[in-house]
């Protein structure tokens, strides 16, 4: 395992080797159509140590952390946690943040709840 896949395993606490490739996670995923790498493929990429593709994937910003895949995986693999850990890995490298304070005002409207901003900052910045 490369340093990066070790980090992903460590951050996520997930063992990708338990996956039996049933595809239930991807079938459950509300963002499936938007993802270039699908949840079940994420698991295979990590098994294969192809981390570069994962860290460049737009799936990192399409995952909703809705835990549907986590709930339904029969093997306890938790693909959503792997995706989150891969995003963490990217965000922890300086200058790789997905949301900058400068762009925030333009994204707000009258009704935007604080919760949305707080959550987005948590998910998209270090």
């Amino acid at each position: 395992m490369s340093k990066q896949s070790e980090l992903i395993a460590e951050i996520s606490g997930v063992n990708p080797l338990k996956c039996m490739k049933c595809g239930k996670c991807s079938a459950s995923c509300p963002s499936f159509n938007e993802m270039d790498i699908k949840p079940h493929q994420f698991v295979s990429y990590i098994q294969r140590d192809d981390i570069e593709a994962l860290t460049a994937s737009k799936s990192l910003y399409k995952c909703l952390s809705c835990f549907a895949c986590v709930e339904r995986c029969p093997r306890g693999v938790k693909p959503g946690k792997l995706i989150d850990a891969a995003r963490q890995l990217v965000l922890r490298q300086r200058g790789q943040e997905y949301l900058s304070p400068d762009e925030v005002p333009a994204l707000l409207d009258e009704e935007t709840p604080q919760q949305l901003l707080m959550s987005a900052f948590r998910k998209y910045r270090r």
Binding site: E10, S12, P30, C66, F67, A68, Y98, L107, S119, R122
Partner: protein
């Protein structure tokens, strides 16, 4: 009965109705919400990284405060409930997090997950009881067809949240029935509305919300009910159905709020 209460930052601002009616209805139903002193925002999402500590501390402080008051801790916002409950689980069951958080906070007595975290709906179901609630209804919402929208944060991961059956929940439907209205069961009631992605990917959240609202409409729901300010925001943007907080319906049925529909 007194509970420690964690309102959360959104309930102080955009979601004032969720908060106000929760407090006022509690008095009608015979319990009291004691707001914690000096609570801080939980951050809105549970930090998934197993090495994260600092981002969990506001929740740990709130949990420990409730413990010091000898009270259960109640949240009304789905997201606060989710975060508090998962952090509490870490404090009870993950030795590394327990040790590091306690070292950081240096309390007189270490916190080990002793506090019971309850969602307001659980107080209604498990402490007040829906039968008792029904007896207190003075303006039944007869003839109204209401779709319960659970979303994700109340239900999953079910092993930790243990709130209701994650695939076939009933608590909101039972609540709606207790208020005299008719619950509408529709397939997308526990599908995510998109959550935080609506900030940067509004089209994605929009298409998810359209699917949810169309599904509910297809089963003849007239409105959706939620416990989450972000669900309400996202679903309201799609504009297909009115979205209300469960506490607003409760207040209406208890006769303390006019129906301003």
């Amino acid at each position: 009965m007194n509970y420690s209460y964690y309102p959360g930052c959104t309930l102080r601002n955009k979601a004032k109705d969720l908060d106000r009616w929760a407090r006022e209805c509690a008095e009608v139903l015979g319990f009291h919400l004691d707001e914690l002193n000096d609570w801080q925002c939980c951050g809105g999402v549970y930090p998934l990284g197993s090495d994260e500590i600092a981002s969990k501390l506001p929740s740990v402080r709130a949990l420990n405060d409730a413990k010091e008051h000898g009270q259960d801790l109640v949240a009304v916002c789905s997201a606060c409930y989710h975060v508090l409950k998962r952090v509490n689980n870490d404090m009870a069951n993950v030795p590394d997090i327990q040790t590091r958080a306690n070292n950081y906070m240096a309390l007189d007595e270490p916190y080990k997950g002793e506090t019971k975290v309850l969602h307001y709906l659980e107080v209604l179901r498990d402490r007040v009881g829906f039968d008792e609630l029904k007896k207190k209804v003075v303006k039944p919402l007869s003839g109204r067809k209401i779709g319960a929208y659970y979303g994700c944060l109340l239900l999953r991961p079910s092993g930790i949240l243990a709130f209701d059956d994650p695939e076939d929940p009933t608590i909101l439907e039972d609540f709606i029935r207790a208020l005299g209205a008719e619950p509408v069961i529709y397939p997308y009631r526990n599908e995510c509305c998109g959550g935080y992605v609506s900030l940067k990917e509004p089209e994605l959240a929009g298409s998810l919300c359209d699917r949810i609202a169309d599904s509910a409409k297809g089963f003849e729901a007239e409105c959706l009910v939620t416990a989450c300010p972000l669900c309400k925001y996202n679903l309201s943007k799609s504009g297909k159905l009115p979205v209300v907080y469960f506490t607003e319906l409760l207040a209406e049925a208890l006769g303390i709020k006019e129906d301003d529909k």
